[in-house]
Each structure stands twice: as structure tokens, then as C-alpha cells.
């Protein structure tokens, strides 16, 4: 009797699963090229721009103890809201929630250090890049790591699903990845000796090494620099056009570079700033 009930339930769920995969082509699109449907219109009508940002990635974006945010991407979000003449609402996210927040209409755009990889671009919509950053390696002083190539064969902590995760698995297949959800845990793992090294953004590892004398970092030149874009739902061409235009103007006016220098103490990567130069 137990087995019959179990078999029936499993059959129902299996049928449901197969049924859903069969109608995989039937779902509607997410956004359109009709200006009236666009997220741009919705934002202007609502009078508020909701932006997803990271709360634990200084100096790009960090949530302070009083709940407010500050950082390079926060300043960009403020500029975007000002350009639309609307209020700004910041929503904290993590790597896993960036797309779900857009799909559930809880945010209008992501400005969350989102690297526009080709695989992600199949399901999310990316604007032109406003930033670029690469990876660096963090390790305890005394570990036998002199260059990026030395992390081969070692245990390396990364943020789950991040571009550093991909860099590690594709460029250093002999290294053993240890994945954490939070960037702070990635750094803690090196501090507490759980892993030999951490692979995180070049700025983050340089800061961690500065703050903790027992740690050392290799961060220049950054490994595998990648382009960072704003993320939106795919298919909303009107909204994306607006954001692309906004970013181009931000770069051309020198504002993006100014903010980048202010927060990261180095100029915007030339691969990004070249977009501000009219052909």
C-alpha cells in the first residue's frame, strides 16, 4: 500500500514535469519593443526607480550598519534616478537573486557588479558595459604562490557561480574549487586556513591583504578582466536603449571615470572608456 501510493505520486509528478517541458515553447516573452509596455514608461509613471545592488562588495556597493548604501555603483544608481527625474530605491541582492528579482518585477534594473558573460546573456539582458574588473589571488603569507599560475593544484575558495568560479574551473582545472555564497566567507576561508587561496576581484583581495598583515595578494595586472553591465529583462529594447544611452553619456562626460577614481583610486579601464569617444 505504501509502495502503491508512492508510485502513484511519483507518476503524477513525473507526468507534470514532462508536461511542463513539452510546453516549454508556449511561455510568453518578457517585455516588448512597444514603448508603452517598456520598463522605462513604468518607472516614469511610478516615479521611483528600483535598483538591485550588492550589500557586501565594497567599494562597488556596501550596506552600512544604519541600512543605507554607499559605493561606486550606488553613485551610478543615483545618477540614473536623477536622469529620469524619479526617486531611487535600492534593493540588496546576491549572486543568485539578480535575475529572479527582475523576473518577479521587484526591481527595474540591476547595477550589481554583474558580468555580462555569454552564457548569462542567453537568459538576461545586458546593457553596454560601464565598468571592467578582473580577478586577483589572496593567500596566507608564506604559501608557495608567486604568480597566478601557482594556484594550479591548490584548494581555492570562490563565490558560487561568479566569474571567478568560471575562471578557476576553465583556466585552472587542476585547482580544487571550494564554493561559498557570500564573498566575506570566501575571504574568511583563507584567513582560517580552510583553503590555500581565494580568487576574488583584484580590488577586494588587495584590500583584504592591506587590512590583514598575515595575508598577501597578487592583483596587478588583474586576471581575465571582464565587462560589467547593468542587467535587465531580455527583450525590453526601449529600456535597454535608454540605459545604453545613459551609460554612453556617463562615460563621455567623464563622470564614470570620476566616480571610478573616487571609489577605486584608479581610472576606468580603457576597454570601457573607449565607448564614450564618438567615432
Amino acid at each position: 500500500m505504501v509502495t502503491r501510493k508512492l508510485a502513484a505520486l511519483a507518476a503524477v509528478l513525473l507526468a507534470g514535469t514532462l508536461g511542463l517541458s513539452a510546453c516549454s515553447n508556449g511561455s510568453s516573452g518578457t517585455g516588448s519593443s512597444n514603448p508603452a509596455d517598456s520598463q522605462l514608461n513604468k518607472v516614469l509613471k511610478a516615479g521611483t526607480l528600483r535598483v538591485a545592488v550588492l550589500p557586501d562588495f565594497p567599494p562597488w556597493a556596501v550596506q552600512k550598519s544604519d541600512g543605507s548604501f554607499q559605493g561606486y555603483e550606488i553613485d551610478i544608481a543615483h545618477e540614473l534616478a536623477d536622469s529620469l527625474g524619479v526617486k531611487l530605491k535600492l534593493v540588496p541582492t546576491d549572486g543568485d537573486s539578480r535575475l529572479p528579482l527582475l523576473q518577479s518585477n521587484r526591481v527595474d534594473v540591476n547595477i550589481s557588479a554583474w558580468t555580462a558573460t555569454n552564457e548569462r546573456a542567453q537568459t538576461a539582458g545586458f546593457t553596454i558595459p560601464y565598468d571592467a574588473h578582473g580577478a586577483g589571488v589572496l593567500f596566507k603569507k608564506g604559501a608557495s604562490i608567486k604568480s597566478y599560475q601557482d594556484i594550479a593544484g591548490k584548494t581555492v575558495s570562490v563565490a558560487r557561480g561568479s566569474t571567478n568560479d568560471t575562471i578557476l574551473t576553465t583556466d585552472f582545472p587542476s585547482a580544487k574549487p571550494v564554493r561559498f555564497d557570500a564573498i566575506s566567507d570566501v575571504i574568511s576561508a583563507v584567513k582560517t586556513g580552510k583553503v590555500d587561496a581565494a580568487l576574488e576581484s583584484s580590488y577586494t583581495v588587495a584590500q583584504a591583504a592591506k587590512q590583514d598583515p598575515s595575508l598577501q595578494a597578487i592583483s596587478q595586472p588583474p586576471l581575465d578582466p571582464q565587462l560589467v553591465s547593468m542587467g535587465v529583462l531580455p527583450g525590453d529594447q526601449v529600456w535597454m536603449n535608454y540605459l545604453n544611452n545613459f551609460i554612453r553619456n556617463l562615460i563621455a562626460s567623464g563622470e564614470d571615470n570620476k566616480l571610478h577614481e573616487k571609489w577605486l583610486h584608479e581610472p576606468l579601464a580603457s576597454i570601457v572608456s573607449v565607448q564614450g569617444n564618438a567615432a
Partner: protein, 217 residues
């Protein structure tokens, strides 16, 4: 974005490998924890006062703090006093201690539900304390609390998902990795939830079989 389960099915072996680790850590922590739980209970009943206090403190500490906090303390905190455990042993340690606290309470309920008359009769028949405990008290007690124990087992199994935060490669961690790679949240977590459900259903089913065949009197 369209819903497409077929795109996610090739990743099933990865999920199953994660499920195997979830089950492994659950089974180990359940049985070791239950044995530990019995001893914790016996400690609480002992006439030696510090042992009683120790048992009481153990249960209160591990029952009233979240497993995630316990795992963080064991995995990231202990190295500061020199104890360095890998994710599997950290998760195992945390879940075992957690389980011991809960099962000691479950056993307490079961053992105290055994009628005193039985214990007195065993004494009258000349059985020693340990013999009485093993045959007259423990076995009927376990039968009485088998539903609670099954529940605890399933809860422990679902709690093993917390291990993903300290980088243990169990099922939830596999689901999170796949989600990041493919961004197909609905499909991946539906199949993942289904795997958890099926494993729990098997556990519940075997418990009912055990009830029927092992404790038949």
C-alpha cells in the same frame, strides 16, 4: 523567459551526487547523534549532580540555537582556537550535536511513557539495571516514539541543506551552482525539491515498514 525542464535534465547526475552526500551526512549524524542522545538522557537522570547539569546545558544550548549558527561556529570559529575541520566533518559534527539534543528529548518522552509497573516487575524477576533498561524500557520506548524519530530524521535530512553555506557539496549546494550557471531557477529548484521529497518519502515509508515488522507485538 521560457520554462524548459529538458534543458536541466542533463544535470541530474550532478544533483544525485549531491543527494548522496546529503544522505551520507544525515545517516551518520542521525545514528551517532541518537546514541549520543541516549547517553545525554541517561546523564540527565543520573544521581551525580554535575552530570545532570551538563546534560541539561547540552540540550538547551544545541536545541535553542540555529544549526547555521552552530555550523559557522564550528567551521569558521574553531580555527581561532586551533581546531580546523573540513566542511564534511564540520557539518557532521554540528548535525550530530544538534540531533543528540533533540533525540535526547524524544527518548525522554518515550522512556518516561513506559509504565513503571513493567520496570518494577523486571526488578521483581531479578533483572539487573542495564538488562531492564535494554529489554524492558528501551525497546518499547523506541516503538512509542518511532513517528517522532522518523520526523527528526527527515528534519535532519532537510537541515543538511544548511551545509551548503559552509561549502559542503551536498544537494542544495549543487542546485545553487547549477542555478548560477544556467539561471533556470524554477526548473532546477523544482527538480531539487522533488529529489528531497522522494528521499524523505522513502525514509517515511521505511519507518512504517519497520513499525510493522520490527516492533510487532
Amino acid at each position: 523567459m521560457t520554462i524548459n525542464f529538458a534543458a536541466v535534465l542533463p544535470y541530474l547526475p550532478v544533483m544525485l551526487r549531491g543527494l548522496a552526500i546529503s544522505l551520507e551526512v544525515t545517516v551518520l549524524s542521525f545514528f551517532i547523534g541518537s546514541v549520543l542522545g541516549i547517553f545525554v538522557y541517561l546523564g540527565r537522570r543520573s544521581t551525580f549532580a554535575p552530570l545532570r547539569w551538563l546534560g541539561y546545558a547540552f540540550v538547551e544550548v544545541f536545541r535553542n540555537t540555529p544549526l547555521l549558527v552552530q555550523l559557522y561556529l564550528i567551521y569558521f570559529g574553531l580555527p581561532q582556537v586551533g581546531i580546523n575541520l573540513d566542511p564534511f566533518w564540520s557539518t557532521l559534527a554540528g548535525m550530530t550535536l544538534n540531533n543528540a539534543a533533540y533525540t535526547s528529548e524524544i527518548f525522554r518522552a518515550g522512556i518516561e511513557s513506559v509504565p513503571n509497573g513493567l520496570v518494577e516487575a523486571a526488578g521483581a524477576l531479578g533483572m539487573r539495571y542495564l538488562q531492564t533498561f535494554r529489554f524492558i524500557v528501551l525497546k518499547p520506548a523506541i516503538r512509542n516514539v518511532l513517528p517522532s524519530l522518523t520526523n527528526q530524521f527527515i528534519v535532519l535530512f532537510l537541515f543538511s541543506s544548511v551545509g551548503s553555506v559552509i561549502s559542503l557539496n551536498e544537494l542544495t549546494s549543487a542546485l545553487a551552482d547549477l542555478n548560477q550557471r544556467t539561471l533556470r531557477t524554477l526548473e532546477i529548484f523544482t527538480i531539487g525539491g522533488l529529489l528531497y521529497f522522494l528521499a524523505s518519502a522513502v525514509i517515511a515509508g521505511s519507518s512504517r515498514l519497520a513499525e510493522r515488522f520490527l516492533f510487532r507485538w
